[in-house]
Symmetry: C3
Subunit: 135 residues, 3 copies
């Protein structure tokens, strides 16, 4: 099964998409298998992160924003705005695809794990994630 | 086939888990396919790295420890200890899932490639990796 | 289906391999599925990046070269040349495997996405990528 999910994003940062993915796995109705997520963009990415304390999410965003700064004099790719080249770099340092096994009909996530879409642009927009569920 | 592997870790750093994964692939007894590893934690991760000279492993650990320091004044997520927030960041910079094709009944690893669990906490503990093997 | 692709690389940097992968997906002739790429090396890696403006590619290379410098006094793994240890670190910060769903018989890439082999050594050489295509 391959389906596209369209997610509306309003701002930079980590957005929890776990319930949307779990719902697709539930619909697929398979006992064991593999669920693969792929994001069709180069300025947003996928990560699995702690879903409990929001301070972990905030620190993660702040740390990466400090490492990959806007208006770095090194950049020549500046026509699409000051947040575009940092977005491409952050995309490469995180993940474009993630695969999660399905056990007993559910995603085999750890108890503290959530699936996040990490929007790296300030403005956001509609993002598309393609979900593959197989045996 | 989906199985959980439980791995006892005593200290921070790269731990070679290649033989444990190869053993599962051998049991699966398939000629061609795909083996996907998923780690159920946000403070330990998976990497494929050089398995020959231990100095490569040491430098990799030292480099990442210098990039992602403990007690960074940026952190607000500090209740779980000084090594917790750096562990989440290191997790995001490396990988939570890795997929390796199976060719002629074996993992298609390069001659110098080993599969490592990278423990980012100092104390370690028991870590769970879920292995999916499919056609 | 599991096949090896051999790619000759002459220099450090991002090399577009999208047509080579698309060609294999076309040969596989399946409507829906998953295409997984795995690189059998620890000093070259895989990324999905913007395929439009070459300045994005150049900035990405320059940024990572600045973050992971050669001749860092931290390195002890120096016998294989000044570009070897940086290559291993860059490999870990990017990806060894990437999975892309197949929709309507084609890779579900975004319009601006290209698949790149990122050579981290200066000299290059022949690199092997193993491609798995499944349902």
């Amino acid at each position: 099964m391959v389906v596209s999910l369209f997610i509306s994003i309003r701002n930079q940062g980590l957005h929890n998409i776990t319930p949307k993915i779990e719902s697709r796995v539930h619909q697929a109705d398979i006992e064991e298998g593999l669920c693969t997520l792929f994001i069709k963009h180069t300025s947003a990415s996928l990560v699995i992160q702690e879903n409990a304390d929001p301070s972990a999410k905030q620190d993660l965003e702040a740390w990466l924003n400090r490492l990959v700064t806007e208006n770095d004099p090194l950049y020549t790719h500046t026509l699409e705005g000051p947040d575009d080249m940092p977005a491409h770099i952050k995309n490469v340092l995180t993940a474009t695809s993630i695969s999660i096994p399905i056990q007993k009909g559910r995603l085999a996530l750890g108890i503290w794990q959530g699936i996040y879409l990490w929007e790296h642009r300030h403005s956001g927009g509609e993002r598309e994630i393609v979900v593959h569920i197989g045996n």
